[in-house]
């Protein structure tokens, strides 16, 4: 049973931030609510004030320019991203990821900002965006700051945001030349979250050597994490199956998964190793042919 709360409906982001500043720890932003309402119904979260930003037009936008990359307002729905021709052209992996995120109903109502703020280690967008070097702009009544997704997640369901802050924008830098990102989650049902998930971005230099690599693991620790050891294996290497294999093993060794009924810790590590190998290779293959 959801506990009683006062419903607040700001007319603008600014007004929402004012409300948030006022209620801080007792207030909770709701946007799509696709994750929040579940835990509220379990009684796990009992805010006194619910601030609804779902309909805020000033947070619902998507822009792209070659210099700054993609900017998405926090209330942009998953479905909008999935259906965007611009995103499909510039960041095809985002569309692939969105198509596998839960079900159409959830994507229709759920938002990118809400998803990232929820900080579920098994969430889909975070690994992909983090692997592309994405960041979020968070705002409070007193100002704005940009936090790299690398630094955004601090623990299970916890972020670097203060209680008076909320995500207002998601920023994805432009894709470098000879670079590609691939994402896959391992799940039992198509619509499930990943038992584990891996996003890999590979950037090649002119000679086909790996110039940069970002490997991000979903549900392999209490938060979305970079697999920095795996990245080290890849960066500077002439990529081949043996290197991908090694990167997979490195990722499996450095992640910190916990066991649950769906998979043991050992099996999760095994899956991380396989998916890292596969995604790094897939990203490499695409990077080779991409402009």
């Amino acid at each position: 049973m959801i506990s009683d709360f006062t419903y607040l409906k700001p007319g603008s982001a600014k007004e929402a931030l004012k409300m948030l500043a006022e209620h801080q720890d007792d207030g909770k932003i709701i946007c799509g609510g696709q994750s929040l309402l579940i835990i509220m119904r379990q009684g796990l979260v009992t805010p006194e004030y619910v601030i609804d930003i779902k309909k805020l037009k000033d947070l619902n936008y998507m822009t792209f320019d070659p210099k700054d990359g993609l900017k998405m307002g926090a209330t942009t729905t998953h479905r909008t991203i999935e259906k965007s021709a611009m995103v499909k052209e510039k960041y095809p992996v985002l569309v692939e990821m969105e198509e596998k995120l839960a079900s159409i109903q959830v994507r229709n109502w759920g938002t990118i900002g809400g998803n990232l703020a929820h900080a579920d280690a098994a969430g889909d967008p975070a690994p992909v965006l983090m692997s592309m070097g994405g960041s979020v702009k968070v705002a409070s009544a007193s100002g704005e700051r940009v936090i790299s997704l690398d630094d955004f997640y601090t623990d299970l369901f916890e972020t670097a945001m203060n209680h008076d802050e909320m995500i207002v924008e998601v920023i994805v830098p432009p894709r470098p030349a000879k670079s590609a990102t691939k994402y896959q989650k391992f799940n039992l049902l198509d619509s499930d979250q990943g038992i584990v998930a891996v996003a890999a971005t590979i950037t090649l230099n002119g000679g086909g050597v790996c110039k940069d690599a970002r490997i991000v693991l979903g549900n392999a620790a209490s938060t979305t994490i970079r697999a920095k050891e795996a990245e080290k294996v890849l960066i500077g290497a002439k990529l081949d199956d043996a290197v991908f294999q090694k990167a997979g093993e490195a990722a499996a060794a450095e992640c910190q998964p916990v066991a649950d009924i769906h998979a043991s810790e050992e099996y999760r590590r095994h899956l991380i190793s396989i998916l890292t190998k596969r995604m790094a290779k897939a990203a490499w293959e695409q990077a080779k042919i991409s402009g």
Partner: protein, 149 residues
């Protein structure tokens, strides 16, 4: 669910042991401990408040010492209920202290935790991630406390 871990503390074993039994000192070191009250020789009234992101849990209940072998071995078990009825938990905790020789003591612990109710939905993931964090914080606080003593 079993959670195990160990950590080292730089202190004489006797001093460490006494600190662990000093209710006020322990409460000050244990993150989230709102109340630790000694009811009798073996029974403690404990209230712990933990926060996992937006989820707040306040567990309160009794812990009973079932075996005490100063200054190396300790066993206790207890039961606690969440304030907002999110669930209740039962636990059995074993703790061993071992002198490593270089002035360091290794504390190893094993907790067998059984949760029922809404909390169990998040179960393992939350508990393990939290245990890790609590441990780190505890070691930090305890070390500082021991130094100050």
């Amino acid at each position: 669910m079993i959670i195990e871990g160990k950590f080292n503390i730089n202190a004489p074993i006797k001093k460490l042991w006494d600190t662990l039994f000093d209710v006020e000192a322990l409460a000050a070191c244990l993150p989230g401990a709102e109340k630790i009250e000694k009811l009798d020789d073996t029974t403690y009234d404990v209230t712990m408040k933990q926060r996992v992101g937006i989820i707040k849990v306040t567990m309160s209940g009794k812990q009973v010492l079932t075996k005490v072998e100063a200054p190396t071995h300790l066993e206790m078990e207890g039961e606690a209920v969440d304030k907002t009825k999110l669930g209740h938990m039962k636990d059995k905790i074993t703790m061993d202290l071992k002198e490593l020789g270089n002035g360091e003591v290794e504390i190893s612990y094993k907790m067998d935790v059984n949760m029922v109710g809404k909390l169990a939905m998040f179960g393992d993931r939350v508990m393990r991630s939290k245990a890790n964090e609590v441990e780190k914080e505890f070691v930090k606080n305890l070390s500082a406390k021991l130094k100050a003593l």
